[in-house]
Every structure is written in C-alpha cells, then in structure tokens.
C-alpha cells in the first residue's frame, strides 16, 4: 500500500500513471499562452540585459551582470534579498506548522473565523502591509504608545523602520500563504498511519517525529520554496518603510526603471538574476521533495 502523495507539485497518485502524449496535446493551448505571455517578454528582457544602456550598438556583453557583482550597492541588495527571503521562508514554514495542523486535525469553535483572519493578509499588497507596520510599530505607532502608557517609555518606537520590522512585515505576509500551502498537504495525510503508530505505543512526539514529519517533509520543502520565491520578489513593504541604508534587489530594479536616470540594461540583468534564483530554488527543492516521495513509496 503506497503512502498517498502529499506534495502539491506532483500528481496525487503515482501508481497507475500511464505514459502517453495525449495530455501534452491537451496542454497545447496553455503552452501557447505561456509562450506568448512569458517567453516573449523574457526574451526581450534577456536581450535588454545583454546590451549596454549607454551604448546599445556596442553588441552583446555580460557587463550588466558583472556590474551586479562589482557595484557594492547592488551586491549588498542581492545578498540582503537572499538573507531576508531565506529567513522569512524558514520562519514562516516553521511557524505555519502549528496552525496548519490545527486546521486539518481539529474542529473547534471559531475555526472558520480564525482561518479567515489568518488568510486576510494574503489579499493585501505589500504597500498596505507597510502602512500597517508604520501604524503599529512606527515612531509614534500604536505599540510604542501603548507601552509608553504602561511603562512611561516608548519602547519599540520606530522598530518598523528597522530590519526587524521588515522581517515581521514579511512574516505577516507569508505565514498565511505557508499555512494554506501546508494545510492542503496535511489534509491528504493518511491518519491511519498515526493510528497504527499509536496502537503500537508511540507517544505524541514520537508519532510526530517518526511518522508525520517524514511524510510531510516534501510539503514543508515546497512551502519553503513558495514563500522564498514570493519574498524574493516583493518590495512594497520596503517602499513604504524606506529603511535607511538598506535596499533589496527588487527595490533597486524599481528605482532603476522608475527614478531616472534609468539604466534598463542593469535593471533587466537584476530581474533575470532574481528570476533565475527563484526558479532554481523552486525547482531544486521540488526535486528534493520528489525524491522524498519516492523514498517513502
């Protein structure tokens, strides 16, 4: 009896898959759409990234890509983007385990409401989350003013304009996404396995560590991949918080395109760099998750 697959990225049942080209034909419209909407702009972006903005006739060069590594500001922006996204992906994947587990396994009063509240931030744009951050943890935010009324000192004042505030805002954004991604995976988990483990005398923690965790491991990986990719590309929060001496690569792209003097070549190179990292991470983690599947099958 194979264990039911729990990754969203793969078909729900690997047994009984047939090799045939018919599905490919059915996917043709989608493929054509992808070609038109994704590949054409990508090709344009790639072309743009290989030309010098100041001398477009000078021919193809990797100068723009080298510039990202060479200019300290851009290099820092890339590294900060990676660090932030990794921290947020790890944090939100870890934090969402409990609510996702709760939602799949238990019925309790207010569950629907709680779920609604939790998934609300997903509908916000980054800028809205940024404004919320300013209102809550700005210089005269709600939290510091409340703490001042208790302690006489405006504790946490202005944290919203610092790195912790940014991480908090991103977590607020990603935890719902992570919870929903994981919840759908947990829902497919075969509870009979746990019952079997329980009847064999395994305790709570043992059941979680030896039965549940290995089974949902692929789902955790894909949750990590999704939150990482989304974090890597979003910058609306930072646009509002305007953290001093701090920047992220997507914000640099935005600035290059929108705050003249613009350098479209560098902006395109930055975009493709981000895209490649996001795609490679997603693909790599899914491969890893897929291997996890097979190991348990």
């Amino acid at each position: 009896m194979p264990i039911r697959d729990s990754s969203c990225a793969l078909p729900a049942n690997r047994v009984g898959e047939r090799r045939t080209v018919a599905p490919l034909l059915l996917c043709l419209p989608l493929l054509l759409l992808l070609l038109a909407l994704l590949l054409r702009p990508l090709a344009h972006l790639l072309h743009q990234s290989l030309l010098l903005t100041d001398a477009p006739t000078a021919g193809i060069t990797l100068h723009n890509y080298l510039e990202i590594a060479a200019v300290p500001r851009y290099r820092r922006a890339l590294l900060w983007s990676l660090e932030l996204s990794l921290a947020v992906a790890a944090g939100s994947t870890a934090i969402c385990l409990a609510p996702a587990w709760l939602f799949t396994r238990y019925r309790f009063p207010g569950k629907r409401l709680m779920r609604g509240i939790l998934t609300l931030p997903m509908t916000f744009s980054g800028m809205i989350v940024g404004f919320l951050m300013v209102i809550m943890l700005g210089r005269a935010g709600f939290v510091p003013q409340f703490l001042e009324s208790l302690t006489g000192r405006p504790l946490l004042s202005g944290v919203g304009y610092q790195f912790p505030g940014l991480v908090l805002a991103y977590l607020y954004f990603e935890i719902p996404r992570a919870t929903l991604t994981l919840e759908s995976a947990l829902a497919k988990l075969d509870s009979r396995l746990e019952q079997a483990a329980r009847s064999l005398g395994a305790g709570h923690w043992q059941r979680f560590r030896l039965v549940v965790l290995p089974t949902i491991w692929p789902a955790l990986l894909s949750t990590f991949a999704v939150t990482f990719s989304v974090s890597l590309g979003s910058f609306g929060v930072l646009l509002v918080l305007s953290i001093r001496r701090f920047t992220l690569l997507p914000l640099e792209i935005f600035t290059q395109y929108l705050a003249p003097p613009s350098d479209h070549g560098i902006a395109a190179a930055m975009s493709l760099t981000l895209l490649t990292i996001a795609f490679a991470t997603g693909y790599g983690l899914r491969r890893l998750a897929g291997r996890g599947e097979i190991r348990h099958a």
Binding site: V71, P72, R73, M127, V134, G138, R139, A140, G141, G158, Y161, L239, V240, L241, S242, I243, R244, R245, F246, T247, T255, Y257, L258, A259, P260, P261, S262
Partner: protein, 336 residues
Amino acid sequence: MKPNRIVKFLAAALLVAVPVLAAQTTVIQYDCIPNYANWGGVTKAYQQKTGVVVPPDMKGSSPSMAALEAERNNPKADCVYYSGAIGYQAATKGLHDHYKPKGWDKIPAGLKDPNGAWWTVHTGHIAILVNTAALKGKPIPRSFADLLNPIYKGMVVYDDPRFNGTGFTFVAGISSVLGGKDLTAGFDYLKKLDANILKYNKDNIYNELLRGEVPIWINADGNGLKAKHVDKGSIEVVIPAEGTITMPLVMALVKGAPHKEEARKYLDWLLGSEAQSLMAESFFQPVMPVKLSPELQAKFPPKSAYAKAKVIPLDRMAAQADEIKKRWEKEIDGGR
C-alpha cells in the same frame, strides 16, 4: 437566487452601469496626489463642474517622467504635473506637446516655456513643517542649522529626491540657501542632517505629519499650512532663517495625449480663477493674479518671511538633475 433571477439582476446592473460609464470622460494626469497642493479638492471641483474625472495618481515627479519616457510610443497620460526642475528636464526630452492654455500671457516670463512646452500653475517654497505636539516639549526648529541639533534625532524626514520633486528641489537648492557656490556645501549639510533622519520617504506622508508619526517634514509650505488651517493639526510652518527655495510647480500637455481635447479644456480651467483660488486655499501661491479673501491672505506667512527665498534657474537644476540624484544615492543613501 435562481439562475434566471441572476440573469435579470445582471441585465439590470448592466443597464444602469453602461450609461454611467459611457458618460464618464476621463483625463489622466500623472502626479496627481490628493494630499499635495489640494489636487484632491481641485479634481473634485472639476468633476462636479464638468463631469470629467481626473483620477488620483500617486507617482512623484521623476517616476512620472520615467513613465512618459517608457510610454513614448503609446502614451497613456494626457497631462502631467511636476516640480519645476523635473518638468523642465522632461520637456528637454521632448515628452510634451506645445500648448498655451487660456491666460498664458498673464504667466510671468521665466515661469513658462516660450513655446508652451511647460508652464507654472502655482508656486510653493521649501519649508520646515513641524508637528508641535509630536515634539513633546522640544523647541521648534527655526532654521536649517537647528535641524542638526541631536535632540531631533530620528524626527526629521525629507522626501527621497530620486522619486519626489519636492525632495529633489530641497536637495538641489540647499547649497545656494547656505551660501555655497557649488553643491558641496549642500551635500556636507545633508550628510550631517542624515544623523537625525527617520526615513527618506518615497510615498506621500502628509497624513503621517498630521498624526505626529513624522514630527518634522521638510516639504512645501502650502502642504503644512493646509494641515494647520484646513485639517486643524498642531502644525507650525517654519520658513527657515537662512532663507528658502522658491519652487515653481509646472504642468504640460503630454505628447500624443489620448484625450487631447478634454485635456486642453482641463488645463485651461486650471489657470482660471476658480481653480487658482482652490489652489490658494491649499496655500500654494497662484500663478495668475487672483483676488484672495483677506481671511485667506492672513493665513499665508508674511511676505517678509520669504525675503531670502532663492530662485534657482530651472534650466540649471534640470541640467544637473541626474548628477544630483546619483550623488545623493551615493553619498547619502548608503554608498555604492
């Protein structure tokens, strides 16, 4: 609802919506921030008068120019508003049509392009806007030099000059105000000021000034006066002791505007006495000679406060715009 009821409902909704939408003409103005120079009030009055909608647009001066450049072959905007230097720069890039709106002759020379590539609608001055309640007993800063006092640490804000024209005008002009020959004196000052800066905002923070989230905002005097007199905030508008920078705010018709005729009518109206008075009610100096009520006139700072105001030629600021923004990014915004 049964399916046929849904169909009936949708049909009714369509019947109502189509004439409403069809009757609605729009004019797109880039850089139409409701809380800046009372654009919210001005566009509302225009809609009430003509039915033409001018939707808000939150782009600052430089992003507006960038958008026009990007859309050069397929323009989306009809008209555009900027702080003078950026508008001048956009005109040199050939992004504007030539148009001389009604009342053109009354605009003083120097505040318009002789061929109608841009013209001033009103002027403001760079001022120190202070939320006195948020100072919590600290003295009100009276000069640019006062702002360097460490007691204001984490309280001072000015707009990111790469995005907002008002921030750009301040960064480009501060050197002249402090008596510098070139930009060096200004950048030296900005580096010192950085120690007290809370953030370099890219969005509009009018409401944050009102709420006291931002205690000190270097911005246009008119926005502070509106916060004080119209929105009744605990706001004081300080014209700095060293002097200030006069900032023309300019408009232009976009080259290839999709609603050209409607845009021309709107641009004409903006120079008429009604719109000019509305702009004056938000304390930007109207460019046309309109008669203001004595009560309103009394709320403006006295003429003497502006005695040391510097008028920096727009062509000079525009020519240096890219260099100034790059230098600010490098020296103030954390190096490159």
